[in-house]
Amino acid sequence: MNISKKLMLIVILTTVEVSITVFSAFEIAKGAKFHQLNFLHLKYINQLSKSINEIEIDKSIDTKTIESNILAIKQQPIDCLEEINILNKVIMEIINTNQALTICEKDIEVADTALSSLKQYENRAIDRHTFLTSLNHALYNFNEHSENFEEPIRKTVSFILITLIPLVLIISLFNILFISYLSRTISNSIHNLTLLLSSKPKDNINLDEDLEKNTTGELKALIIAARQRIREDFFNLENNKELQAIVKTQTASLQQANDELAQFAYRASHDLKSPLSGAKSLAQFVILDIEAGDTKEAINNAKIIYQQMEKLETLVVDILLLAKADISSEDITPIDFDQLIIDMKERLAWLMKDNPCTLETNITLSKPITSDKARFAQIIENVISNGLKYYDKTKPSPYVKCDIFDKSDILTIIVSDNGIGIPEQHQDEVFDMFKRFHVKNSTGSGLGMALVKKHIEFLKGDISFESSKDGTIFTITIPMDKQV
């Protein structure tokens, strides 16, 4: 039963209790009124009796006084019958005290008879003696009625006292007990709910179930509404947090991209400007040398200018390649690795000429590889050319070895050498742009390994290396099933 129904029951019970109490009070008051009316009745009977006595002594009959006396006597039973309602009649019938009503009716009849005798006497229809006899007869009946009237009224009043007062008491008692019980159940359910809600989350894993079981009515509705509200608030909070986190990471990655771009622009412009300003100065020297007749020096400087321009060209080509590495190409073809190596050797002819390094390649593929050929060519060429550039002059038989093989959809490229190795303190900068770690032999743009890294990231592959003074091993793995 919900709280509002319980409270409604308490209200109804209290109303009934109060109604019965008020009704009883009225009934008891009515009983008192009946006694009062009877006393009044007796008083007027007494007056009538006095009048009759005076008539008997005086012999003169004052019909006016007699009439008013009888009318006064008749008034009480009339009042009495008017006071009685249906409920009173029912009660009186049940407890068999309704003769009081009959008495009233008879009394009125007697009064009417007496009044008609008075009229007859005035009209001389009856004589004085008959009239007096009828008056005495009426007087007798009046007295008798008054006497008999007391008993049923007393009985009725005491019945009301005996029955209704204990009833009121019983209802009151029940009411008190019931209110106590209900208030306890209400406060108990609130208390239980408070306990459930204030329990620690780890002690109560099934809070939702427990709440479902232990609450009813308005409390259940309250809990459901509260839970809904808390969930929504929490959800909004979580959402906000998530959004904030997204904004934060995106801002950070944008910042990083921006920094990288600024760094790239700075380094690229520096590295582009450097050979240009060198060539510019050298060109001036060439003019001066020719003017001074020093053709030998002029030719030397012109050669250096040529080399500077070549360096510039390489750099521009590498920057373009790097920019293109971010763009996905549609040139997906089966790759002939043997041909790829032959082409690469042609391009690296300048580096391999007068180079004591041996280059050995082993290609073992179980099935043809279909991918972006240009990316593979640039990856392999850059790693191999680094090996060739940084060979160790102090070692007897310098080599660069390249193994290409596949195993369960993973293509592996291993390039190993016994070169001078990457200095340990610079190993985490290998894939950064414009990084060169060896002062001499610095022929490249410093973009090669950055380009390799970009291509491998694009192909969703991985590159790692181990390097020491004994040499360097690069291991590249590319999952072929992830290729488009």
Binding site: R267, H270, S274, S277, G278, K280, L282, I304, V439
Partner: protein
């Protein structure tokens, strides 16, 4: 006229840039002994090997002026200045050595860090100056002889 040619050190990884600077020094008719190093690491090794160099070049070590590039492999110009300022507190003779920047970079934030060192006396931008200008700059920081020829 001083018989001794004051020693200077050029630290630059670009051979062409070093050649250009040497040629301008020659054009300016400055009589200098020139050491060349490829990057900050090589230069620091050279300066740190104080005792041996002192014996090897009794008249020409340590250099009194350093031309310093910024972008170099291994130890760059800015890192070199840090190490060099530490070295100056340790070795008395080096304290009189000053630095003139020689770079193609003109980044303001870098320049501020570099010029904060009180021993950095000038900032030459590659390809923007002629022999006469170089001569004035060098003579403003060191007392170098100028040949008559």
């Amino acid at each position: 006229m001083n018989a001794v040619k004051p020693p200077i050190l050029i630290i630059d990884d670009d051979e062409v840039d070093r050649y250009v600077l040497k040629r301008l020094i020659k054009e300016a008719k400055l009589e200098l002994t020139i050491f060349e190093k490829n990057d900050g690491q090589e230069a620091l090794d050279f300066l740190n090997d104080y005792e041996n160099n002192r014996q090897e070049y009794p008249e020409e070590f340590p250099p009194i002026l350093i031309f310093l590039d910024i972008n170099m492999p291994r130890i760059n110009g800015i890192q070199f200045l840090e190490e060099f300022s530490k070295l100056r507190t340790k070795v008395d003779d080096i304290q009189s050595c000053v630095v003139m920047m020689f770079s193609s970079s003109e980044r303001e934030e870098e320049k501020a860090i570099i010029m904060a060192h009180d021993f950095v006396k000038g900032y030459l931008v590659k390809g923007t100056f002629k022999a006469q200008e170089l001569k004035e700059q060098v003579l403003s920081v060191i007392d170098a002889p100028v040949s008559d020829i």
